[in-house]
Protein backbone atom coordinates (compact mmCIF):
# COMPACT_ATOMS: atom_id res chain seq x y z
CA UNK A 1 0.00 0.00 0.00
CA UNK A 2 1.12 3.55 -0.54
CA UNK A 3 -0.05 6.83 0.91
CA UNK A 4 0.69 10.11 -0.80
CA UNK A 5 1.06 13.37 1.07
CA UNK A 6 0.35 16.11 -1.43
CA UNK A 7 3.20 18.61 -1.45
CA UNK A 8 1.78 21.66 -3.17
CA UNK A 9 4.39 24.08 -1.84
CA UNK A 10 2.23 25.76 0.73
CA UNK A 11 3.23 25.93 4.36
CA UNK A 12 5.23 23.58 6.42
CA UNK A 13 4.46 19.89 6.04
CA UNK A 14 7.52 18.36 7.75
CA UNK A 15 5.53 17.38 10.82
CA UNK A 16 2.88 15.67 8.70
CA UNK A 17 5.59 13.74 6.86
CA UNK A 18 7.38 12.77 10.09
CA UNK A 19 4.23 11.53 11.77
CA UNK A 20 3.06 9.46 8.82
CA UNK A 21 6.50 7.91 8.47
CA UNK A 22 6.57 7.16 12.18
CA UNK A 23 3.23 5.34 11.99
CA UNK A 24 3.86 3.65 8.66
CA UNK A 25 7.28 2.27 9.64
CA UNK A 26 8.22 -0.14 6.84
CA UNK A 27 4.76 -1.55 6.24
CA UNK A 28 3.39 1.28 4.13
CA UNK A 29 5.19 3.51 1.71
CA UNK A 30 4.77 7.24 2.26
CA UNK A 31 5.25 9.37 -0.80
CA UNK A 32 5.56 13.16 -0.63
CA UNK A 33 4.91 14.67 -4.02
CA UNK A 34 2.83 16.83 -6.34
CA UNK A 35 3.38 14.42 -9.22
CA UNK A 36 -0.06 13.82 -10.73
CA UNK A 37 0.62 10.25 -11.83
CA UNK A 38 1.91 9.29 -8.43
CA UNK A 39 -1.18 10.78 -6.80
CA UNK A 40 -3.44 8.92 -9.23
CA UNK A 41 -1.79 5.59 -8.52
CA UNK A 42 -1.72 5.93 -4.74
CA UNK A 43 -4.14 4.14 -2.44
CA UNK A 44 -4.70 7.05 -0.11
CA UNK A 45 -4.03 10.75 -0.21
CA UNK A 46 -3.33 13.25 2.54
CA UNK A 47 -4.02 16.90 1.86
CA UNK A 48 -2.29 19.07 4.46
CA UNK A 49 -2.76 22.81 4.65
CA UNK A 50 -1.18 25.72 6.49
CA UNK A 51 -1.48 29.43 6.09
CA UNK A 52 -4.61 31.06 4.78
CA UNK A 53 -7.48 29.45 2.86
CA UNK A 54 -6.67 31.68 -0.09
CA UNK A 55 -2.95 30.94 -0.10
CA UNK A 56 -3.62 27.20 -0.01
CA UNK A 57 -6.22 27.29 -2.80
CA UNK A 58 -3.90 29.47 -4.88
CA UNK A 59 -1.04 27.04 -4.33
CA UNK A 60 -3.21 24.08 -5.37
CA UNK A 61 -4.28 25.89 -8.52
CA UNK A 62 -0.72 26.80 -9.36
CA UNK A 63 0.12 23.17 -10.03
CA UNK A 64 -1.46 22.41 -13.38
CA UNK A 65 -3.94 19.55 -13.26
CA UNK A 66 -3.66 19.01 -9.50
CA UNK A 67 -7.24 19.97 -8.63
CA UNK A 68 -8.56 17.77 -11.46
CA UNK A 69 -6.42 14.89 -10.25
CA UNK A 70 -7.67 15.30 -6.68
CA UNK A 71 -11.26 15.47 -7.93
CA UNK A 72 -10.77 12.29 -9.88
CA UNK A 73 -9.16 10.59 -6.88
CA UNK A 74 -11.68 11.59 -4.23
CA UNK A 75 -14.93 12.21 -6.11
CA UNK A 76 -14.86 9.91 -9.16
CA UNK A 77 -12.77 7.05 -7.82
CA UNK A 78 -13.89 7.51 -4.22
CA UNK A 79 -10.52 6.64 -2.77
CA UNK A 80 -9.75 7.66 0.84
CA UNK A 81 -8.49 11.18 1.35
CA UNK A 82 -7.65 12.96 4.59
CA UNK A 83 -7.58 16.75 4.78
CA UNK A 84 -5.76 18.34 7.72
CA UNK A 85 -6.49 21.88 8.97
CA UNK A 86 -6.78 24.10 5.87
CA UNK A 87 -6.69 20.84 3.92
CA UNK A 88 -10.09 20.10 5.50
CA UNK A 89 -11.31 23.66 5.07
CA UNK A 90 -10.69 23.51 1.32
CA UNK A 91 -13.42 20.82 1.03
CA UNK A 92 -15.88 23.72 1.34
CA UNK A 93 -17.52 25.65 -1.50
CA UNK A 94 -16.09 28.94 -0.35
CA UNK A 95 -13.74 30.49 2.20
CA UNK A 96 -13.65 34.04 3.52
CA UNK A 97 -10.05 34.37 4.77
CA UNK A 98 -8.32 37.41 3.19
CA UNK A 99 -10.94 37.51 0.46
CA UNK A 100 -13.78 35.36 -0.84
CA UNK A 101 -12.16 32.30 -2.44
CA UNK A 102 -13.69 29.29 -4.09
CA UNK A 103 -12.86 25.94 -2.46
CA UNK A 104 -12.90 22.41 -3.84
CA UNK A 105 -16.67 22.11 -3.23
CA UNK A 106 -16.51 18.51 -2.05
CA UNK A 107 -18.56 19.11 1.07
CA UNK A 108 -21.06 21.88 0.70
CA UNK A 109 -20.49 24.71 3.16
CA UNK A 110 -18.35 27.71 3.97
CA UNK A 111 -15.25 28.61 5.97
CA UNK A 112 -15.63 31.71 8.10
CA UNK A 113 -13.86 33.36 11.00
CA UNK A 114 -14.50 32.02 14.49
CA UNK A 115 -16.69 34.41 16.46
CA UNK A 116 -14.34 35.69 19.18
CA UNK A 117 -17.27 37.31 21.02
CA UNK A 118 -15.74 40.77 21.09
CA UNK A 119 -12.31 39.64 22.14
CA UNK A 120 -13.46 37.28 24.85
CA UNK A 121 -11.85 34.40 22.98
CA UNK A 122 -8.31 34.79 21.70
CA UNK A 123 -7.59 33.98 18.10
CA UNK A 124 -5.94 31.92 16.74
CA UNK A 125 -7.51 29.10 18.71
CA UNK A 126 -4.14 27.63 19.71
CA UNK A 127 -3.54 24.67 21.94
CA UNK A 128 -5.09 21.48 23.22
CA UNK A 129 -8.82 21.15 23.21
CA UNK A 130 -11.14 18.20 23.70
CA UNK A 131 -13.11 16.71 20.87
CA UNK A 132 -16.72 15.73 21.21
CA UNK A 133 -17.34 12.77 18.95
CA UNK A 134 -20.85 13.09 17.52
CA UNK A 135 -20.73 10.33 14.96
CA UNK A 136 -18.80 7.12 14.51
CA UNK A 137 -15.95 7.82 12.16
CA UNK A 138 -13.54 5.21 10.90
CA UNK A 139 -10.58 7.39 11.84
CA UNK A 140 -11.81 7.47 15.46
CA UNK A 141 -11.40 3.76 16.04
CA UNK A 142 -10.12 3.29 19.64
CA UNK A 143 -10.18 7.06 20.19
CA UNK A 144 -12.01 7.97 23.36
CA UNK A 145 -14.55 10.73 23.42
CA UNK A 146 -13.17 13.98 24.93
CA UNK A 147 -9.62 13.17 23.85
CA UNK A 148 -7.31 16.17 23.58
CA UNK A 149 -6.12 17.30 20.17
CA UNK A 150 -3.84 20.13 19.13
CA UNK A 151 -5.49 23.03 17.30
CA UNK A 152 -4.16 26.12 15.52
CA UNK A 153 -6.70 28.07 13.49
CA UNK A 154 -8.82 31.20 13.34
CA UNK A 155 -11.35 30.03 10.77
CA UNK A 156 -13.91 27.23 10.98
CA UNK A 157 -15.64 25.02 8.47
CA UNK A 158 -19.43 25.29 8.58
CA UNK A 159 -20.91 22.48 6.48
CA UNK A 160 -24.51 22.76 5.26
CA UNK A 161 -25.28 19.13 5.91
CA UNK A 162 -24.63 18.53 9.61
CA UNK A 163 -24.60 14.78 9.04
CA UNK A 164 -21.01 14.97 7.76
CA UNK A 165 -19.79 16.22 11.16
CA UNK A 166 -17.99 13.53 13.16
CA UNK A 167 -16.63 15.70 15.98
CA UNK A 168 -16.85 19.21 17.36
CA UNK A 169 -14.79 21.17 19.84
CA UNK A 170 -15.92 23.88 22.21
CA UNK A 171 -14.33 27.27 21.60
CA UNK A 172 -16.71 30.18 21.59
CA UNK A 173 -19.23 27.79 20.02
CA UNK A 174 -19.27 24.18 18.89
CA UNK A 175 -16.67 24.26 16.16
CA UNK A 176 -16.63 21.50 13.59
CA UNK A 177 -13.32 19.71 14.03
CA UNK A 178 -13.77 16.51 12.10
CA UNK A 179 -15.85 15.43 9.11
CA UNK A 180 -16.47 12.20 7.29
CA UNK A 181 -18.36 11.97 4.02
CA UNK A 182 -18.07 8.59 2.38
CA UNK A 183 -14.37 8.31 1.46
CA UNK A 184 -13.48 11.87 2.45
CA UNK A 185 -12.10 12.57 5.93
CA UNK A 186 -10.93 15.78 7.49
CA UNK A 187 -9.63 17.08 10.79
CA UNK A 188 -9.39 20.71 11.80
CA UNK A 189 -6.95 19.73 14.53
CA UNK A 190 -3.46 18.45 13.81
CA UNK A 191 -3.22 14.70 14.43
CA UNK A 192 0.47 14.94 13.54
CA UNK A 193 1.00 17.20 16.57
CA UNK A 194 -1.45 15.54 18.94
CA UNK A 195 0.93 13.11 20.58
CA UNK A 196 0.17 9.38 20.69
CA UNK A 197 -3.57 9.85 20.32
CA UNK A 198 -3.03 11.84 17.13
CA UNK A 199 -0.74 9.18 15.75
CA UNK A 200 -3.53 6.67 16.41
CA UNK A 201 -5.83 8.67 14.12
CA UNK A 202 -3.15 8.59 11.43
CA UNK A 203 -2.81 4.86 12.00
CA UNK A 204 -6.57 4.46 11.62
CA UNK A 205 -6.51 6.34 8.33
CA UNK A 206 -3.60 4.31 7.00
CA UNK A 207 -5.39 1.11 7.97
CA UNK A 208 -8.76 2.00 6.42
Amino acid sequence: MNVTIVDYKSGNISSVINSFKEVAKDKVSIEVTSDLNKIKSSDKVVLPGQGSFKSCVDALNKIKGLVDTLNEFAINNKKPLLGICVGLQMFADVGYEETETKGLGWISGKVSKIDNQNGEYKLPHIGWNQINIVKDSKIFKDIENNSHMYFVHSYEFVPNDKKVISATTDYSSNIVCSVEKENIFGTQFHPEKSDRIGLKIIDNFINL
Binding site: N18, Q50, G51, K122, W128, K193
Partner: protein, 251 residues
Protein backbone atom coordinates in the same frame (compact mmCIF):
# COMPACT_ATOMS: atom_id res chain seq x y z
CA UNK B 1 -12.60 23.64 26.61
CA UNK B 2 -9.23 24.97 25.56
CA UNK B 3 -6.52 24.00 28.01
CA UNK B 4 -3.71 26.17 29.33
CA UNK B 5 -0.39 24.96 28.07
CA UNK B 6 2.80 24.13 29.93
CA UNK B 7 5.88 24.60 27.80
CA UNK B 8 9.27 23.45 29.06
CA UNK B 9 12.13 25.32 27.47
CA UNK B 10 15.58 23.96 26.79
CA UNK B 11 18.56 26.22 26.19
CA UNK B 12 20.69 24.76 23.44
CA UNK B 13 24.24 25.84 22.74
CA UNK B 14 26.30 24.40 19.89
CA UNK B 15 23.74 21.61 19.63
CA UNK B 16 23.96 20.65 23.30
CA UNK B 17 21.61 21.32 26.20
CA UNK B 18 22.85 23.81 28.74
CA UNK B 19 21.57 22.97 32.25
CA UNK B 20 18.83 20.46 31.43
CA UNK B 21 16.91 17.76 33.20
CA UNK B 22 19.81 15.60 34.32
CA UNK B 23 17.84 12.45 35.06
CA UNK B 24 19.83 9.45 36.13
CA UNK B 25 18.49 7.32 33.30
CA UNK B 26 19.60 9.78 30.64
CA UNK B 27 22.16 8.21 28.38
CA UNK B 28 23.49 11.56 27.36
CA UNK B 29 22.58 14.49 29.59
CA UNK B 30 23.47 17.02 26.93
CA UNK B 31 21.38 15.56 24.16
CA UNK B 32 18.48 17.91 23.37
CA UNK B 33 16.61 15.24 21.44
CA UNK B 34 16.53 12.87 24.38
CA UNK B 35 15.48 15.61 26.79
CA UNK B 36 12.73 16.84 24.52
CA UNK B 37 11.44 13.30 24.27
CA UNK B 38 11.32 12.99 28.06
CA UNK B 39 9.29 16.19 28.23
CA UNK B 40 6.85 15.15 25.53
CA UNK B 41 6.42 11.68 27.04
CA UNK B 42 5.80 13.39 30.36
CA UNK B 43 2.90 15.40 28.98
CA UNK B 44 4.50 18.67 27.87
CA UNK B 45 2.03 20.53 25.67
CA UNK B 46 4.80 21.93 23.54
CA UNK B 47 8.57 21.94 23.56
CA UNK B 48 10.64 25.07 23.17
CA UNK B 49 14.28 25.24 22.13
CA UNK B 50 16.15 28.45 22.65
CA UNK B 51 19.35 28.45 20.65
CA UNK B 52 21.97 30.43 22.54
CA UNK B 53 24.85 29.51 20.26
CA UNK B 54 27.03 32.58 20.13
CA UNK B 55 29.31 31.92 17.21
CA UNK B 56 28.12 31.94 13.65
CA UNK B 57 30.06 28.87 12.58
CA UNK B 58 28.09 26.69 15.00
CA UNK B 59 24.70 28.14 14.06
CA UNK B 60 23.79 25.21 11.87
CA UNK B 61 23.86 22.80 14.81
CA UNK B 62 20.30 23.80 15.73
CA UNK B 63 18.94 22.56 12.40
CA UNK B 64 20.23 19.09 13.07
CA UNK B 65 18.74 19.15 16.59
CA UNK B 66 15.34 20.27 15.29
CA UNK B 67 15.34 17.66 12.56
CA UNK B 68 16.10 14.82 14.93
CA UNK B 69 13.65 16.02 17.59
CA UNK B 70 10.77 16.40 15.18
CA UNK B 71 11.14 12.78 14.20
CA UNK B 72 10.67 11.68 17.80
CA UNK B 73 8.35 14.23 19.41
CA UNK B 74 4.83 14.58 18.14
CA UNK B 75 3.83 17.69 20.02
CA UNK B 76 4.45 21.22 18.74
CA UNK B 77 8.04 22.33 18.67
CA UNK B 78 8.95 26.01 18.92
CA UNK B 79 12.45 27.17 18.09
CA UNK B 80 13.96 30.58 18.77
CA UNK B 81 17.28 32.32 19.15
CA UNK B 82 19.29 33.92 16.40
CA UNK B 83 16.44 33.95 13.89
CA UNK B 84 17.22 36.82 11.56
CA UNK B 85 15.34 36.41 8.32
CA UNK B 86 12.48 34.80 6.44
CA UNK B 87 15.08 32.40 5.07
CA UNK B 88 16.10 31.34 8.61
CA UNK B 89 12.45 30.72 9.46
CA UNK B 90 11.95 28.67 6.33
CA UNK B 91 14.97 26.54 7.14
CA UNK B 92 13.77 25.83 10.68
CA UNK B 93 10.26 24.97 9.51
CA UNK B 94 11.64 22.66 6.85
CA UNK B 95 13.67 20.88 9.51
CA UNK B 96 10.48 20.19 11.44
CA UNK B 97 9.91 23.17 13.74
CA UNK B 98 6.22 24.00 14.04
CA UNK B 99 6.71 27.55 15.23
CA UNK B 100 9.60 29.94 15.15
CA UNK B 101 10.09 32.71 17.64
CA UNK B 102 11.59 35.97 16.49
CA UNK B 103 13.09 38.49 18.85
CA UNK B 104 15.75 41.00 17.77
CA UNK B 105 14.93 40.75 14.07
CA UNK B 106 11.29 41.68 14.76
CA UNK B 107 12.39 44.87 16.52
CA UNK B 108 14.95 45.85 13.92
CA UNK B 109 12.80 45.06 10.93
CA UNK B 110 9.13 44.39 11.57
CA UNK B 111 8.78 43.40 7.92
CA UNK B 112 10.26 40.02 8.87
CA UNK B 113 7.13 39.33 10.93
CA UNK B 114 4.84 40.67 8.23
CA UNK B 115 6.51 38.73 5.43
CA UNK B 116 6.94 35.47 7.30
CA UNK B 117 3.37 35.39 8.63
CA UNK B 118 2.09 36.00 5.11
CA UNK B 119 4.34 33.32 3.70
CA UNK B 120 4.00 30.60 6.32
CA UNK B 121 0.87 31.61 8.23
CA UNK B 122 0.51 33.38 11.58
CA UNK B 123 0.20 30.04 13.35
CA UNK B 124 3.94 29.49 13.16
CA UNK B 125 5.15 32.99 13.95
CA UNK B 126 5.81 33.76 17.61
CA UNK B 127 7.19 37.16 18.50
CA UNK B 128 9.38 37.04 21.59
CA UNK B 129 9.35 40.21 23.65
CA UNK B 130 12.08 40.74 26.25
CA UNK B 131 10.78 43.53 28.44
CA UNK B 132 12.30 45.44 31.31
CA UNK B 133 10.55 47.84 33.62
CA UNK B 134 11.52 51.49 33.45
CA UNK B 135 9.43 53.73 35.69
CA UNK B 136 5.80 52.97 35.01
CA UNK B 137 6.35 51.32 31.66
CA UNK B 138 8.25 48.44 30.11
CA UNK B 139 10.85 48.73 27.38
CA UNK B 140 11.74 46.15 24.74
CA UNK B 141 15.29 44.81 24.80
CA UNK B 142 17.11 43.02 22.01
CA UNK B 143 20.27 40.95 21.49
CA UNK B 144 19.57 38.60 24.38
CA UNK B 145 18.77 41.49 26.69
CA UNK B 146 21.89 43.54 26.01
CA UNK B 147 20.39 46.44 24.05
CA UNK B 148 17.55 48.71 25.04
CA UNK B 149 15.44 49.65 22.03
CA UNK B 150 13.50 52.17 24.13
CA UNK B 151 10.28 50.89 22.53
CA UNK B 152 7.24 50.65 24.77
CA UNK B 153 6.46 46.95 25.23
CA UNK B 154 2.67 47.34 25.28
CA UNK B 155 2.58 49.36 22.08
CA UNK B 156 5.04 46.96 20.51
CA UNK B 157 2.87 43.96 21.44
CA UNK B 158 -0.11 45.55 19.71
CA UNK B 159 1.99 46.37 16.66
CA UNK B 160 3.27 42.79 16.39
CA UNK B 161 -0.28 41.47 16.54
CA UNK B 162 -1.14 43.74 13.61
CA UNK B 163 1.95 42.55 11.74
CA UNK B 164 0.71 38.98 11.88
CA UNK B 165 2.25 37.38 14.97
CA UNK B 166 0.23 34.31 16.00
CA UNK B 167 1.42 34.42 19.60
CA UNK B 168 3.57 36.54 21.88
CA UNK B 169 6.23 35.05 24.13
CA UNK B 170 6.70 37.66 26.82
CA UNK B 171 9.76 37.47 29.06
CA UNK B 172 10.29 39.78 31.98
CA UNK B 173 14.01 40.53 32.10
CA UNK B 174 13.68 41.79 35.64
CA UNK B 175 12.43 38.39 36.70
CA UNK B 176 14.33 36.06 34.39
CA UNK B 177 16.58 33.78 36.43
CA UNK B 178 15.37 35.15 39.78
CA UNK B 179 12.83 32.39 40.52
CA UNK B 180 10.55 34.88 42.29
CA UNK B 181 7.69 34.51 39.81
CA UNK B 182 6.47 36.07 36.57
CA UNK B 183 5.99 39.82 36.27
CA UNK B 184 2.22 39.49 36.61
CA UNK B 185 1.57 43.14 35.93
CA UNK B 186 3.42 43.00 32.60
CA UNK B 187 1.75 39.74 31.54
CA UNK B 188 -1.79 40.82 32.33
CA UNK B 189 -1.33 44.24 30.72
CA UNK B 190 -0.05 42.74 27.47
CA UNK B 191 -2.60 39.95 27.49
CA UNK B 192 -5.44 42.45 27.91
CA UNK B 193 -4.04 44.61 25.14
CA UNK B 194 -3.91 41.94 22.43
CA UNK B 195 -6.31 39.33 21.11
CA UNK B 196 -3.64 36.72 20.39
CA UNK B 197 -2.41 34.24 23.00
CA UNK B 198 0.37 35.29 25.37
CA UNK B 199 2.98 32.86 26.67
CA UNK B 200 4.41 34.01 30.00
CA UNK B 201 8.12 33.56 30.63
CA UNK B 202 10.83 34.56 33.06
CA UNK B 203 11.03 34.06 36.80
CA UNK B 204 9.33 30.78 37.62
CA UNK B 205 10.65 29.27 40.84
CA UNK B 206 7.76 27.11 41.99
CA UNK B 207 4.46 25.67 40.84
CA UNK B 208 2.41 28.48 42.35
CA UNK B 209 4.12 30.84 39.96
CA UNK B 210 2.66 28.88 37.06
CA UNK B 211 -0.79 29.22 38.61
CA UNK B 212 -0.30 32.97 39.03
CA UNK B 213 0.88 33.37 35.43
CA UNK B 214 -2.40 31.96 34.18
CA UNK B 215 -4.86 33.19 36.80
CA UNK B 216 -3.46 36.65 37.42
CA UNK B 217 -1.23 37.16 34.39
CA UNK B 218 -4.01 35.96 32.04
CA UNK B 219 -1.47 34.00 30.01
CA UNK B 220 -2.70 31.24 27.71
CA UNK B 221 0.47 29.28 28.24
CA UNK B 222 3.34 29.25 30.70
CA UNK B 223 6.92 28.64 29.75
CA UNK B 224 9.50 27.56 32.27
CA UNK B 225 13.02 26.25 32.17
CA UNK B 226 14.76 25.83 35.48
CA UNK B 227 11.91 24.32 37.55
CA UNK B 228 12.02 21.34 35.21
CA UNK B 229 15.79 21.08 35.27
CA UNK B 230 17.54 18.54 37.42
CA UNK B 231 14.19 16.87 38.09
CA UNK B 232 13.01 19.53 40.55
CA UNK B 233 9.50 19.16 39.15
CA UNK B 234 8.17 16.99 36.39
CA UNK B 235 5.74 18.33 33.83
CA UNK B 236 3.17 15.94 35.23
CA UNK B 237 3.56 17.32 38.75
CA UNK B 238 3.09 20.80 37.37
CA UNK B 239 -0.06 19.79 35.54
CA UNK B 240 -1.53 17.97 38.52
CA UNK B 241 -0.88 21.02 40.63
CA UNK B 242 -2.55 23.38 38.16
CA UNK B 243 -5.45 20.99 37.91
CA UNK B 244 -5.82 20.99 41.71
CA UNK B 245 -6.04 24.79 41.54
CA UNK B 246 -8.88 24.63 39.05
CA UNK B 247 -6.84 25.53 35.97
CA UNK B 248 -7.81 23.56 32.86
CA UNK B 249 -4.87 21.47 31.69
CA UNK B 250 -4.47 18.46 29.45
CA UNK B 251 -3.90 15.43 31.66
Amino acid sequence: MLKNRIIPCLDVKNGRVVKGINFVDLKDAGDPVEQAKIYSDGGADEICFLDITASNENRDTIYDVVEKTSKKCFVPLTVGGGVRSVEDIKKLLNCGADKVSINTAAVENSKVVLDSSKKFGSQCIVVAIDAKKNGDKWEVFTHGGRNNSGIDALEYAEQMEKNGAGELLVTSMDRDGTQVGYDIDLMSKISSKVNIPVIASGGVGNLDHLVDGIKLGKASAVLAASIFHYGKHSVKEAKDYLDSKGIPVRI
